[in-house]
Symmetry: C2
Subunit: 307 residues, 2 copies
């Protein structure tokens, strides 16, 4: 069976529709606003943002499909190992399509969530899948963390018995802020270059990858339902502001998706929709002893088994 | 005349004292809090932060003096050209000392300011000076911008007739946010590796460099005096929040000082004191036609002659 990029691309546009509809229902107040954009070097996207919702303060569910001459860093980075050295004879071309989501809720007890599913293709014939879902609660509730990881584990287990454990560890490594020595949140799953050195066929990996995309809406709307009506204090909002500061730090300093977007002359407003409406920094802030903030801080580390 | 690192280091500590005293007087309410820290690999610093002032919402005037094995990126980057290739025989050692300042004021009509003066030394015998002062007004007032640049020009002109023009252009290039296609503010002066391929002797450059450090307090306290009592609206505060967002973007994505600090295992809280207490991002924000915000936005570009 031949899988063409057009099929993947239109599947992603449908996914974007489905997720936006589910989020609008969960919010009950705000609607997504759509903007279509084109990229000079090739391709474009369909950005959908929501703001001032009852639940969702600021968020984006973005589809894009870009192509053209492959940016140099796709070759520089050893870990990628694509197509060997760049030569003057042939400048390789790439095609990339994906859906990226970041949601910042109003209520500090509703977690920040991020999802990305992406497909890459090089004109050398190589192609691969990447993606993941991870959760950044301002306050970590054990039952929610377990539900989140258990749901992802079930998606993984349907396809490969090692995927959850492998991709959970990968998320722990990826969503880590080295200079803070803490994780961005409770992780989730993260994978890249799937289908290149496949343990499974590309088709089977594609089916796993689609299930990841489809898992987003039911998982996040459930977390919204559980937490959106919790009352919160000024102190809770203040802590949320600081956690958002860390989120911005991760995205601006380390996130490869952000880097890729900025280096491929992507649409800045679409890339940086991941940043919160407000964020804060305080010199040397330390949570109070035995506070819920301290409890959360202590759980921002790698290697916790939630599922 | 032999200039030893100890002399430079103690001169910098005095500069820190002088500046903190001047800023406390200008604020009239808050005082700096000092924290001393040591770095595992060698050296340490004296961090001084101020918060919740009448004028200064959040700021730091930090002294540091660090040494040890030179981090690899000092060799990687061609532009630096230090000591050639790293060999297994000899791991070069460095010594770096400096004062770094970032001040975020409460009133959106008082500008954000940044200053840095630094001294580097390699055990290969090379040594050089770097630094600069630049201004990021939330609202650009022409008379203030002219005063700021004119003051820096006078400092430069006392030492070398080409320094202002050269270092002003360097600041325009350095304090530029490529993905936003805008400058961080109205620039100022920026220089690095001064004294390596000296047009002037190291001693003469040192004297210029000291004058830059000494220029900070009179310039900034004058800008505070001019603007601290201007009344401001909610809209002005909102714009300030967005400008602070751009400031955070620059520092986290591009700033080499931040990068150097994080890569040399510097003290995170001291390095990231440059981040504002609050910052904000809005999807696709465009200032109103003919508003002061639009006027400022239009002036955030390279090559404007203020002096």
């Amino acid at each position: 069976m031949e899988i063409r990029r057009e099929n993947i691309s239109s599947w992603l546009m449908n996914l974007q529709d489905t997720i936006c509809a589910a989020l609008e229902t969960a919010d009950g107040q705000s609607k997504f606003i759509e903007e279509n954009w084109t990229r000079e070097e090739g391709g474009g996207g369909r950005t959908r943002v929501i703001k001032e919702g009852a639940v969702l303060e600021k968020g984006g569910v973005n589809y894009s499909s870009v192509f053209g001459e492959a940016p140099e860093f796709l070759f520089r980075e050893k870990e990628h190992g694509v197509g060997g050295q760049k030569t003057n004879q042939h400048k390789p071309r790439f095609y990339a399509t994906g859906v990226s989501i970041v949601i910042h809720p109003n209520n500090p007890f509703v977690p920040i969530i991020h999802m990305n599913v992406r497909y890459f293709e090089m004109d050398t014939g190589e192609r691969w899948l990447g993606g993941g879902i991870d959760l950044s609660p301002h306050y970590i509730f054990e039952e929610d963390a377990r539900f989140f990881h258990q749901s992802l584990k079930e998606v993984c287990d349907r396809h490969h018995r090692e995927y959850y454990s492998k991709f959970k560890d990968w998320a722990d490594e990826y969503f880590f802020i080295p200079h803070r020595k803490e994780t961005r949140g409770i992780g989730g799953i993260f994978f890249d270059r799937l289908g290149k050195k496949a343990e499974m066929t590309f088709e089977k990996n594609l089916s796993f990858w689609k299930d990841v995309g489809l898992a987003f809406a039911p998982i996040y709307t459930e977390l919204i339902r559980r937490n959106k009506n919790r009352p919160f204090s000024k102190e809770n909002k203040h802590w949320q502001l600081l956690r958002r500061g860390r989120y911005a730090e991760f995205n601006l300093v380390y996130d490869k998706g952000t880097k890729f977007g900025l280096e491929t002359n992507g649409r800045v407003e679409s890339i940086l929709m991941s940043l919160p409406k407000t964020a804060g920094w305080e010199y040397n802030f330390v949570p109070k002893k035995n506070s819920p903030e301290e409890a959360t801080q202590n759980l921002l580390r790698k290697g916790i088994s939630w599922a």
